[in-house]
Amino acid sequence: MSDNPSPILRPTPTDGFPSLTSLQQIATENTLKNRHPSAALPTDTKPPEAVLQRNQHIQFLVRNLIQGFPARYTSQDASQPWLIFWTLQGFSVLGVGLDEKNKKRAVETLLGLQHPEGGFCGGPGQAPHLLPTYAATCALANAGQPGEGGGWDAIDREKMYDFFMSLKQPDGSFLVTYDGEVDVRGIYCLLAVATLLNLLTPELIAGTPEFLATCQTYEGGFGNASFPGWALRDDVAPGEPAIDPTSPRPPLGEAHGGYSFCALASWVLLLPYINSYPTHSPSLPKPSINIHSLLRWLAHLQGEAIELGGFKGRTNKLVDGCYSWWVGGCVGIIEGLLAGGGVGVADESPENEAAGEQHDDGWDDVDDSLYNRKALQEYILYAGQHPAGGLVDKPPKPADAYHTLYDLSGLSAAQHRVIPNSKREKELLACWTEDEVKDPVEGLRRDTFAYALSWLEEEGASKYVGGAQNRVNATHPLFNLTVTHAENMMAHFYKRDVPSRYRTKLSK
């Protein structure tokens, strides 16, 4: 699998000062190190091979989709679109297409979750909620299409927009549902959907970048929300900002991998809007986040060799396969920002290095990775797979639908490099005429469309632990859809003929 010598499996130092955290850490290391290929094995045992158990995982997904989920999934009864999205996107990452009959069933089931007042619900007869709205929209990107019975044109976009606006808070955040909580997951879900379905307006996202920035903690990662109370102005005249920018808005909750992914992906989806700040908000300072401290914190969440290089979700917590996507994917977004010249990143000098032509099999000089992609792939392949199919948090936990997708998406992020391509962005911008973008709202939509779809897989930058038979499809870092699905759906809702991206790549 690799010619590199096995790393020494050093336990995490505890300095002769044990505590509950270090004891749990040691217990986890003891479980994981046995999965390491260099673990001491009886002499007649072959070391485990790094093989993606593709067929077992496909069977796991087929079972869930066709037969359904056992009663223990009742806890996901308010997340039914998620069960469908995790399964369909799992197929897409594994390169499996769904047959027409099951696509139709999926579309029908998903449309049954649309609320008459806009948005999608966790289950039939439940209330609309931002999280299932993302899951249903992305599941429809997988299984749906334009036209009769295709599902896409049955999405009530006008009502969805009204639903989004009804959740908006004075501090730029959104409730996840009526009288629900505020947190950056909901904001990510809203922005991903608004981008895919062409619903962005300055009115919808005013104040949202500032809110996101307040969620960054002293560690560099993002917490789930911030406290608005001290900054809310009383008696605000219409049109005036409801927030006093000089007042403290401290983050609630510590830096967390899942929230950090949501916050950064949201930020990047908003970059075209943020970059136009002097135009639409002359009185407000352009908000910024600290990419360097975020990157530092993310890099430190990668576990040691004894933990097979999996990612933790918070400082001093345990590795978990799902953070392969939330944290590994988040580093991938930063790689894209840096490669693309650091749009919207404070004090970042543009640097557009030519993509290196790498024909070397070694890992050390592969690319501009900012974390250990090889080790992360090893974690997923050696520790993330359940022998009976499906993927897991860590052994000996059972497989579940959530971890199956996010382990596989994390594997995808660790194999491929998907970054903005400026040539592609120009091509996409040219899908609008000058006349069309005289309307600033249309200009924002064009820029968002072009920037979001400019993220393409970099040719020659993919690397596979265990060889190319372990290859999974690349996913779009901002949506967790394949680039094809994201592009098809956006082309439809922005009513554009998108030029083939294969030409862009060839002529690079």
Binding site: T14, A71, A78, A106, S293
Partner: protein
């Protein structure tokens, strides 16, 4: 914990078998199609949610809706619509909200990992004590833009309620000291009531938790929230004292267990927040960057401000080397590069790519060195 609900819904007959529910028409989940990826519910769960959909359809808000939504919540605490409908019902029928809080005490402990149990508490407290009694009790206004004299004092009831709530959260954290929602709720509660008597106990609380487990990052984060989250509480001179106290506390914790990322992140956080140069910490950090053998040659001076690593500390400490490299980056970048190379190739090879990136970035800004 008081068990308000008695035996729980397991012992109850199905709603479809109960005479007091015959006037409700249950609504099945799927009508007219064969869904993909269905869940195989227990008969009890299917029964309760069929009646819930029936109630929602007719928009009934009544006492029995509370019973129904509680039954669903006990079977699936993540059913956000049941929580939401329950909340609207409580308000509509003007149900006693203190009784609701008591019920939440038992549910929160049972289901502490779900968002909804904590959010519902927040809604109930807000409903009881709204508008929030913020900036009200002897604290300076954190915005320093309006006069605090016009604000009213918090009522004794709200002060008592906040104290009770804080004590409850403390008990839950004893069960799970890193529960994200519990911590987030505690921070919200402190900010919402914003009562000086609530804030002043928090530092001691954090220190108790860190005595239990110095690696509990949630407790470190809470400390930062308590010390810096509210902005300027007192005069400038006091902030100097605060920084001194925080540095001293953090150094002591690092000395106990040097390879503790939480404490180092906190140290970086307070320096960055207060605009303090990392190089002020150089004499503290250096002993942690050496091996025990290398330290033998150093003159041992008892320095109370800079506690030394213990004999059992595993040295050199990667976090200390990273810190030292950051000190050097400004005016001795070649020394930083030397440290980063050592981290990349020897001491922290998992982050090799990151350390190489730091080298590349640092050298980019530097004119060619002789």
């Amino acid at each position: 914990m008081p068990d308000i609900a008695g035996d729980g819904p397991e012992e109850q007959p199905l709603f479809s078998e109960r005479p007091d529910w015959t006037d409700v028409t249950p609504v099945p989940q799927y009508e007219g199609y064969n869904p993909i990826a269905p869940i195989f519910y227990t008969p009890q769960y299917k029964d309760a949610t069929d009646y819930f959909r029936g109630i929602v359809k007719t928009n009934e808000k009544s006492e029995r809706v509370l019973e129904l939504t509680e039954a669903i919540i006990r079977l699936n605490p993540a059913h956000y619509s049941a929580w939401q409908y329950r909340y609207h019902t409580l308000l509509a029928i003007k149900a006693p909200l203190d009784a609701e809080l008591k019920l939440m005490d038992s549910l929160a402990v049972q289901f502490l990992k779900t968002y909804q149990v904590w959010h519902h508490r927040r809604l109930i407290l807000t409903a009881i004590y709204s508008p929030p009694p913020s900036n009200a009790s002897g604290l300076n206004d954190p915005t320093a833009t309006t006069s605090s004299s016009a604000k009213s004092k918090p009522s004794p009831e709200s002060q008592a309620a906040a104290r009770t709530e804080l004590a409850f959260i403390t008990r839950v954290l004893m069960v799970d000291a890193k529960n994200y929602h519990t911590w987030s709720y505690r921070q919200w509660l402190l900010a919402f009531f914003d009562d000086v008597h609530l804030w002043e106990g928090e530092l001691g609380f954090v220190e108790r938790l860190l005595e239990e487990d110095v690696r509990n990052n949630s407790a470190w984060h809470h400390r930062f929230f308590v010390v810096f989250g509210r902005g300027q509480l007192q005069g400038e001179e006091d902030r100097v004292a605060v920084l001194k106290r925080e540095l001293s506390y953090t150094k002591d914790q690092i000395a106990l267990a040097p390879n503790n990322a939480s404490a180092w992140n906190y140290l970086r956080g307070i320096l960055e927040r207060t605009g303090t140069s990392f190089s002020n910490l150089r004499s503290f950090v250096e002993p942690y960057t050496k091996t025990h053998e290398d330290r033998l040659g150093d003159e041992e001076i008892l320095d109370l401000e800079n506690p030394a690593p213990s004999a059992e500390a595993e040295l050199p400490c990667v976090a200390a080397l990273e810190f030292l490299a950051d000190i050097y980056e400004k005016d001795a970048v070649s020394k930083s590069v030397e440290i980063w190379k050592r981290l990349a190739n020897e001491l922290d090879t998992m982050r090799k790519k990151y350390w190489e990136y730091r080298i590349k970035e640092a050298l980019k800004d530097v004119p060619v060195q002789s």
